[in-house]
């Protein structure tokens, strides 16, 4: 079980959190300006790298804040992201 460093509550068990996927996928500011391909890419595709990925995590059974971490998908090594509001 992973130990997730919540920036507000400290390290807590993974079961208190929801992993909400890759953090680099930002909702386009003006969706209608997106091409069909770009919109489909935003909706359906993830990077899914072997290595470090920046993710949103939701501390649903804790402070209910959303924050980002960098997680290595091979070793599960986690590096906190300094400014969670970014």
């Amino acid at each position: 079980m992973l130990e997730i460093p919540c920036p507000w509550c400290g390290p807590r068990n993974e079961t208190e959190f929801v992993c909400a996927g890759e953090a680099d996928r930002k909702r386009p500011a003006n969706p209608e300006a997106e091409t069909e391909e770009a919109w489909a890419d935003y909706l359906f595709n993830t990077t899914n790298p072997k290595g470090v990925v920046r993710e949103w995590w939701w501390h649903v059974s804790g402070c209910t804040r959303w924050f980002q971490i960098d997680r290595d998908t091979v070793t599960h090594e986690i590096t906190p992201v300094k400014d969670p509001s970014k």
Partner: protein, 978 residues
Amino acid sequence: MTRLANGGVIDRQRPLRFTFNGKRYQGYEGDTLASALVANDVLIVGRSFKYHRPRGLLTCGPEEPNALVQLVSDGDQPNLRATEIPLREDLEARSVNCWPSAKFDLRAINSVLAPLFPAGFYYKTFMAGRWDFYSRFIRQAAGLGHSPKERDQGRYERVNHHADVLIVGAGPSGIQAARVSAETGHDVMVLDMQESPGGHLLFHPRQIDGRAASDWVSREVGELQARENVTWLQSTTATGYYDHNMVIAVQHEPAESWLKERLWHIRASKVVIATGAVERPLIFPGNDRPGVMLADAAVRYIRRFAAVPGKRVLIYTNNSTPYAHLETFKTAGIEIQSILDLRKSPSEAELSLARNSEVPVIVDARITGVQGRSGVKGVTYQNGAGTKTVRCDFVCHSGGWNPLIHLYSHAGGRSRFEQASAAFVPGERAQGAYPIGGANGTFSLAEGLKEATDVANTLFCESVGNSAWSTPATPATEDEVAYRIDQIWPEKGLKGKAFVDFQNDVTTADIALAVRENFQSIEHVKRYTTAGMAVDQGKIGNPNVIGLVSRELGEEQSSVGTTTFRPPFAPVSFGAIGGSERGPLIIPARTTPMTAWNIENGAAMDEAGANFRRPFFFPRPGEVMEDAVAREAAAVRTSCGIYDGSPLGTFELQGPDTGELLNRLYTNRFDNLPVGRGRFGLMLREDGRLFDDGVTFRVDQNRYLMSCGTGAAGPVYAHIDRLLQTEWTDLNVYLVNVSAAWATMCVCGPLARVVLGKLESDIALDPTFQFLDFRDGALEGINVRVARVSYTGELSFEVNVARRSALKLWKILMEAGKEFDITPVGSETSGVLRIEKGFISPGHEGDNITNPFDAGMGWIVDMTKSDFIGKRSLLRDIKLGGERQHVVGLLPDDERAPVADGSALLPAQESNSRSGFQGHVTAACFSPTLKRTIALALLKDGQNRHGEKVVISGLENSCVATVTEPAFYDPKGERMRA
């Protein structure tokens, strides 16, 4: 009875009677089942898995492959190892995998037929024909033990624990590591599998600091246990090492008598693995005969339990360890025939031990056969001088040592083959795992203690950043015989069965066959031969399998590599995994203030969304479900019903940007909603599919109250919260889930206004109180918010009240409605009323493809808004065009036709344009109001096919139906606005 008069930890004043395979025996307090069997000269403890050969005890510990028993007297638990079961008065156990008995097993015919069962036998034989035919016979013969029939009476619990350092194993190096760590002031936890600490010191007479090792153990452990920063658990097995230094351990029979097992989830900064090593068997024909035992195991039975496995022993080895056991055998009065050493030249130190005990050593010797079927009578061996047979009644063998690197491997650590010790030892580290002592391939006591001191020291210099404190000294030990081993494999094409994996009945011939058939990867050989699988997990046999494979392939053992060790190290009971979460506590049901009332009033309860259990219907005496639903529906349509809507999700949203947020969340507009009014909203996912619907009220200029479906409450909350915190951080809105703060009761039906009107209230129920208005006030002195919302299509008042006052108000309403026969309504009836009205339910008609236009809800989608969640994807749907499935109504020609949800729709007449699957039924019922079967469905191009006929094809029934508008009752909605 072969028990020594003195010695061992057994309490001779406390005899215990027990039953094994139907026979009564006697042992003592302090025995294990295995040691008591040894003391009672019980040689055959089980049958092997495949050939059903008689088997005896091979080991004295948790690695035991043969003595798997069914513990009848304690909850009928299957497949426990006799070596791990503490003896109890009236204990009853049985061998598994034998029929009719362990002594005489009919399936031993498999042994005669062995040439027919080579490795891969199942794959080769039974895949050619019909597996389902063969499987009946195979299943009967397969498996070990049987599941208990009774509910487990034991109680279990699960606890979390944090430590700076977790030390697994309280042998000499574990104890020393604990000592050094504890002195630094860090939080230390020590787990040990055995009942008492000491590891192998419990079984071998060693000296530490010039005194008996047992004195050192009790002094050190006593001091450590008294320290506040040390948590010490005996009888606790670490079963797995998971991510981020989480170790899971099972504590057996903790001091609290009411508890059977406790599962520990331990998170430690560092984990010191001091799990020791287990002895490895030698491979020779007949090495599985009862009476052939590992040398170290024999010593353990003698020294700890004073149980003697035989009178005349022959020792067979490829390494130095058995030479140190000679004294023990002598003292126990055992005649040592000789030592057969596979090596050509044992060391002078080894030979001098043999000379001291007057034991002849025969070098360069190989055993070629063991005489005796159900016990050893003699051994035939070969050396330079030819073939000889010696008489003996048991054989002790040692093929070297396997470091227990399982936990290290679970953590992700690699192993490497070390030539000098002929063992797989820890290699590249993962996580915070630090192996020491036997687990690290360090088999010498002195070196193990030094390693423990050094590793613990390094760990804390690292974390404290301070080396000023004085490290406790490593205790001194007496001289040891240096460990030497020479792995000498049996000749190729060995005659007779020589076992490599005892539990799975894998022989040298099976390994050779697998390699001949071109299985080259050790992982493939493992799966093909089953070596190292199941309960055993390769604790004993793995290095031998790897050695043989490397020999067959002509490669180095280091390049063959090991298979992956997977948790658990030892089997874990389901009871321990479940802990206290069993029965109704697995998923505790959520309740509303009316749940108890509902049950008292005869509700048939049903699982609803979000772990709620709610009334399904309220049967009166003699009523079946259809009767009750018809009566409840009639009450709502003609007089008055009452429905507990408390499980619905309720969110309060506050802030100046709330209107804007709602505009973006819903397909329609909310910023222009007047205060005091509610509006029905439809929420989509970003891909344009139906997500949720519900009514949102504007309580104040910047304050809204949103309701959503029961099952959708969690996902909707996550959806809004995510957008507010990650995407639209500029919007000034607070979101609070108030679902559990409110209770809701719906008074519905043409007489709803009359029933409410009977209560003393400041809320006027006059015609100005219109559909989708709400009013705050009091009913009989209870503060309420009454809203005109309808999920039934009838005149309806939704009374919202603080949870604590809900039951009181419910009872008041039931009393007030008595004269109009107010009827409590269950969720089944509510579903029927919905289908009659054709209200879309995202959980039914939303199938992850349906968009609002497909559902006939285009009227609520405001495409003139600049953006809302799902709009971009709807534009894509429109642009792509093509035929889509639409929500329609279906009226079967046979008005009483049974129609099941999910039934397929087929064309009534096949044509070029219409053939095959046309859609499916999303919800169907018998309508008590219309007195006929009705259904909602998703149908290809359905909006353009009203009036057409389709076939509803269910698993059991088919019928023809007419396609209609999806609204069967009051399609204009006049009744709910009344």
